[in-house]
Symmetry: C2
Subunit: 206 residues, 2 copies
DNA sequence: GTCTATAGGGCGATAGAC
DNA sequence: GTCTATCGCCCTATAGAC
């Protein structure tokens, strides 16, 4: 039985890279730091991933698959049902991102994401559109069902502004920061609550 | 008369740096590119600014002084008046940022700003708080006057979420992008209009 | 198939000549 | 005030060991 393969070099690189990238940024963390932290040789990154940017893309794919999978799961539980309210759909969109930000491994990914948004890279835009566009389309459809009086353009704008508020809240940069005497879990609930109230009113604007 | 000094090396560096940083990011643009574009020697940056990061800080100070100066001017015209409505205060906060993003020189600064937000650097946070905290406090006071039923914590949260929506809209990353047949100026008006409606409702949430 | 050692070229910073 | 030369660190690519 060829059980227990020695140690997965590739995954040790991934784990070390995600932590260091979130901490110091894509350019701030060097492959030398990453490979040293993972306890592997510098060139192992090129062997397993091809280049630094392909390593970054792999991290994105991993986390975004997770977030968007959870979003779709939550959406499918409520989509089309007569008792569903706007807040339910917002929660299905917002909660997976907030929750991931509170789980050990993924705790720092949303900061990576916020950083990447600001990079304004067309490659990333295409990547997101190609891989997760279908998720967005399903949310747009459900938002449209619950806000029938809203034109398509207004709807897109408001979902976009909601995403901005979410990303900003996740990036942890704003004035509001978790006070040291408040547990992490409670702070995340507060984020979801505040986002729900603010964006629900924003989306409903007549 | 010692008029017309040769050529201001320092300012040529500043102009070239702002353009290249906005285009390729702080790490993406090298001092070698900046100095080549400005037509000055590489070492001139270190002589005039001390380091790359101090050059970046100088650019921030310049643009933020501009934006916050305009914000205060707009706020002082309406603060405390009985006929002032919430939308006026939001506009005083939002419009200077949107307008600057449409002026030749500053056209790309808000992207630089969005990027910096995502960097999540405590140095930047302290810099903003020390230099522009008084502007924020005056806006908080006026928002508080018009939303008296809102607790202080809720008020801070919502202003923060508004800033997130603004920053995201400015970064130009979202789904909504200017269509090529719509003039830049008209697109900026649309941004202000959508932001006003969305955030006014969000702030007013009962 | 997996990994190591190493070389090439770009980067920011600085010392010291002018 | 400006420039050249140079140092140490970075990412990438690749030849070859295991």
């Amino acid at each position: 039985m060829d059980s227990t393969p020695p140690i997965p070099t590739k995954q040790r690189i991934l784990a070390a890279a995600e932590e260091l990238f979130a901490q110091h940024g894509f350019d701030g963390a060097s492959l030398r730091q990453v490979t040293a932290s993972a306890g592997v040789n510098l060139a192992a990154v090129n062997y397993h991933f091809g280049s630094k940017s392909q390593l970054i893309e792999e991290i994105f794919r991993h986390r975004l698959d997770d977030i968007n999978g959870r979003r779709l799961l939550a959406l499918h539980k409520i989509a089309g049902k007569p008792e569903t309210v706007l807040e339910d759909v917002i929660a299905a969109y917002v909660r997976p991102a907030v929750e991931l930000s509170g789980e050990g491994e993924g705790s720092v990914f949303m900061r990576v994401m916020a950083r990447a948004y600001a990079e304004h890279d067309d490659t990333l835009r295409r990547f997101l559109s190609e891989n997760y566009g279908h998720v967005m389309r399903q949310f747009v459809a459900e938002f449209g069902r619950l806000l029938p009086e809203l034109g398509k353009e207004d709807l897109y704008w408001r979902i976009d502004l909601m995403t901005g508020a979410l990303t900003h809240a996740m990036s942890g940069f704003g004035m509001i920061q978790r006070k040291s005497d408040i547990p992490e879990r409670q702070h995340r609930e507060k984020i979801v609550e505040q986002l729900l109230r603010f964006t629900a009113s924003g989306l409903r604007h007549p």
